[in-house]
């Protein structure tokens, strides 16, 4: 498998150098792997820190900036970052108003952020944590590590970021983040497996004519393999999964997310089917975002995330945001 890389070992460091070169509005510590919004800490503002394995770009580094994250900690590809990174990020963005850790629910992320929270609190930083676990493909039971954090991470980072930007205190920002997570569900579909630089070959075999339903964002196989379907049929399956689980009784924001290698032309076509499917299920759509936001390297496929919103959340969504990958209103 060919990749546009130097060697597998330097992929993350190289990308950080490239981010630094492209984004003077960010402070990128390539050595220590922390991306910080220039000017941080902002007086009186709660600091938002997230992070996770690399390979999901633009998540999280592409969401650092006004109205979203203050810092991001990229781990190795598909490997959660280490506590040192989060401790450093927390120190860099804490203005005294405290820091919120936004953690996708994976054993590795949870354990590392937990350790970091302890260490940061030892250093006098007030830390709150919110867990994102929106993936309905995973049965949330005692017999699993719980639902994965996927597309809804964007919702949580955007809406909590807007709350922090508006001056909300830590407990309030954390409460918004939790509410957003509780109001969100996602489901993903893969048309191809993913190839990590370290492995250099697809993580699983997906024969032509088949797709994987209920995939995560780390090249894990899904819950079920099926014969290939049309975009409309896939939309029905995916929308059913999220709507049946969330049971929204009001308008939603919908994210039609590409996994990385699916052309935007196809994603927009899929969005048409997602809108149709939501309309048929009487779910009104307040806002739509289509694009590659929470990706899985070179995987072909898509995921749909919905977040039920009230006036407050919709206002936070529409609030100005200025990051490399999400920008409006400013």
């Amino acid at each position: 498998m060919k990749m546009l890389i130097n060697v597998a070992e330097t992929v993350v460091a190289d990308a950080l150098r490239g981010m630094a070169a492209a984004h003077p509005e960010l402070t990128v510590d390539v050595e220590r792997r922390v991306i910080v919004r220039r000017g941080a800490p902002y007086e009186g503002k709660v600091g938002l820190v997230s992070g996770g394995g690399s390979g999901h770009e633009p998540l999280h580094g592409g969401f650092v900036g006004r109205g979203m994250l203050d810092a991001a900690c990229p781990g190795e590809v598909f490997t959660s970052p280490v506590p040192d990174q989060m401790v450093r990020a927390a120190a860099a963005v804490d203005s005294g108003a405290g820091v919120l850790f936004i953690v996708k629910n994976y054993t590795g992320d949870v354990l590392n952020f937990d350790m970091a929270a302890e260490l940061a609190e030892d250093e006098g930083v007030q830390v709150a944590k919110v867990l994102v676990n929106d993936d309905v493909a995973v049965v949330d039971s005692l017999f699993t590590a719980g639902r994965r954090g996927t597309g809804a991470t964007l919702f949580v980072e955007k809406l909590a970021g807007a709350a922090a930007d508006a001056g909300a205190p830590l407990d309030r920002v954390a409460a918004v983040a939790r509410r957003v997570n509780e109001s969100s569900r996602s489901f993903g579909v893969a048309l191809s497996a993913v190839t990590t630089p370290a492995k250099g070959a697809p993580t699983f075999d997906l024969p032509s004519g088949e797709l994987e339903l209920g995939i995560g964002i780390h090249g894990e196989p899904g819950r079920e393999r099926r014969a290939m379907m049309t975009s409309g049929e896939i939309a029905d399956v995916v929308v059913d999964a999220v709507v049946e689980d969330l049971q929204p009784d009001g308008p939603v924001i919908v994210l039609v997310n590409g996994m990385g290698a699916t052309p935007l032309l196809e994603l927009y076509g899929f969005n048409a089917e997602v809108h149709r499917a939501l309309t048929e299920r009487k779910v009104p759509v307040a806002r739509t975002l289509v694009g590659n936001y929470v990706t899985s390297l070179d995987m072909a496929g898509c995921s749909v995330s919905i977040c039920q919103v009230d006036e407050e959340l919709l206002g936070l969504w529409d609030a100005p945001v200025s990051t490399p990958a999400l920008r409006w209103g400013c």
Binding site: G53, S80, T107, F143, A198
Partner: protein, 230 residues
């Protein structure tokens, strides 16, 4: 419970009284690092069908860093080396295995405090403390298809062998066999922790990468005792 051969008793080399000192742990680290390096691709391969294909590179990165850290400022006690290795794993591995293996070794090292050299029983105590730490941090139990399925049988086997009067080398050899068997025995299990749990039934039929790397680490311990005893 009450090991008959008292710790530190001047037995033959290779008896339960054989000492585990800083040098022993350093030699273990060398062996373990070489083994993890050699098996890195296989570990990643095992992490592909039921994980995210990074376990081998995670372990490799961590152990190479740990070895570097220990070489740079070698602690003088076995506990000191273990704590440094554990801390380095936490700071360099990430993922689930970083905090878990880091905790395993940190807790084991802490159990030994600043003792300069310990016997087999204390090593067993240390391992037990480390494994307890893993269970507590990760919340997994035996049969959940995790590294614990290699670690728990290993500590039990070591305990049993020592209780039966075995030497350090014999005890660790028993531990290594038990870890290897435990790793292989994860294959039919359905994962209940970590990434593999997302797969539900589809996790059945694959050997757990973390149990496999745990067995490598215990194997290295046995090899260190064997080579030292030879």
């Amino acid at each position: 419970m009450n090991a008959l051969p008292s710790p530190g008793s001047p037995g033959s080399p290779g008896s339960a009284g054989a000492t585990v000192d800083a040098d022993f742990v350093r030699r273990w680290l060398d062996t373990a690092t070489a083994s993890v390096d050699r098996e890195s691709e296989r570990l990643t391969e095992l992490d592909s069908p039921i994980g995210d294909a990074d376990h081998g590179s995670n372990m490799r990165r961590g152990f190479i860093a740990a070895r570097g850290a220990v070489e740079q400022e070698p602690p003088g006690t076995p506990g000191g080396v273990l704590v440094l290795v554990g801390r380095t794993l936490i700071s360099t591995v990430g993922g689930a295995s970083g905090p878990l293996y880091g905790t395993l070794l940190r807790k084991a090292g802490k159990e030994l405090g600043d003792e300069e050299a310990v016997g087999a029983d204390r090593l067993r105590d240390a391992l037990r403390a480390g494994v307890d730490g893993v269970a507590q941090l990760g919340g997994a139990s035996a049969g959940d298809k995790t590294m614990l399925d290699a670690l728990l049988p290993a500590v039990d086997a070591l305990t049993g062998a020592l209780d039966a009067g075995g030497s350090l080398a014999e005890g660790l050899a028993a531990a290594a066999s038990a870890a290897d068997e435990g790793a292989v025995a994860t294959t039919p299990l359905r994962a209940r922790k970590g990434r593999a749990s997302y797969l539900g039934e589809r996790s059945v039929g694959h050997q757990d990468p973390g149990a496999t790397s745990a067995a490598l680490l215990v194997d290295a311990l046995a090899a260190t005792a064997r080579d030292g005893a030879a």
